[in-house]
Symmetry: C2
């Protein structure tokens, strides 16, 4: 069963970690499972919510998919050599994604060399300063690496993970279920369009 | 400063509690604040995530806004007389909203007498069995009471709270910030349209 590590640092944005994990966990019957993965046993969100990690940081080495969440301390994370050294990722074997300021972490890990990325408006100057071109779109993927920008695009990052691991049909089922009542079709199509566009983009 | 209790039971759906609270907390500079409010010090989500409550259940009596989150144990909640007795709400003074299966709780509290409600597909038969007409729309409000259906409509419930407490301009700012990059205008307009339509609906 493919396992997804949703890496969640202190100061995390609830939207980024929980939209991705909650959508992905709706594929559990299809064999896909997500876990809030944290560097310390408990992390506190940007709004003061204390969450107990479901997996320790070391889980990223065995996970099949690693998503780096976003938060108000991303710049502290990338400046922390010890913390960064615990993020041993393998883009040949793993799907790797980043939400908003998570792009800073992927850049720090050298995983965005030669590819542009998506991030949020606040993180943009820092991602650019790290040498990465930032796109004006919500989602971009090349091979096994994807980035998403704007909190609610975390549903697109989740959609990418679901389509790449268990297929488009389960992804459609999840999006249909979580959609606002009466907006099912447009919610499904919007997410799939964002992912397909972001995967197909010419540079 | 208006305070919002996001009532979160054991077995809660992360999307429902955290999308609402994270959006509303972006209005903190405008004087609006949300707190995860729980019946026990720690609650565990439907996906096994342990979260420490920010406020005890008794906070609902002093909060200006109370949102009832959704989860897999809503039917146990409404069957628990002691738990229900701790939810002393006052629709004359408070804004009261429910997400998905939260409508069952509002129905149990007698707060949906004479008004229809929104809920999710799974909760629908139970809400109907409680005597409430369920609408095929994502959001409906009458006076100080609102319901939303479909996990991602939690952004509409949050938009209703923001517009009713601090106004439309801050709500637009929040929606613009959390929107997927490049989808800002449509995200803002979709949410405001859902709320305005749900407030204006004739029955």
């Amino acid at each position: 069963m493919p396992q997804v590590a949703v890496v969640t640092f202190d100061g995390f944005n609830e939207l980024d970690s929980f939209i991705a994990s909650a959508l992905i966990n709706r594929c559990r019957k299809d064999g896909l499972e997500a876990f809030i993965t944290t560097p310390t046993p408990v992390v506190t969100s940007m709004n003061g919510v204390e969450v107990t990690g479901q997996r320790p940081m070391e889980f990223v080495t065995e996970a099949d998919v690693v998503l780096i969440g976003s938060g108000v301390k991303a710049r502290e994370v990338v400046a922390d050599d010890h913390l960064i050294s615990r993020l041993t990722l393998d883009p040949a074997r793993q799907l790797i994604g980043a939400q908003c300021s998570g792009a800073l972490v992927l850049s720090r890990l050298g995983l965005l060399d030669g590819m542009p990325a998506c991030t949020d408006m606040k993180s943009r100057p820092f991602v650019e300063a790290s040498g990465v071109t930032v796109l004006d779109v919500p989602f971009h993927a090349e091979g096994n690496i994807a980035t998403a920008g704007g909190c609610l695009s975390s549903q697109y990052l989740a959609t990418w993970v679901m389509t790449r691991t268990v297929g488009e049909a389960p992804a459609r089922g999840v999006l249909d279920y979580v959609a606002p009542v009466g907006e099912n079709k447009e919610t499904v199509e919007r997410a799939l369009r964002a992912v397909h566009t972001g995967e197909a983009a010419l540079r």
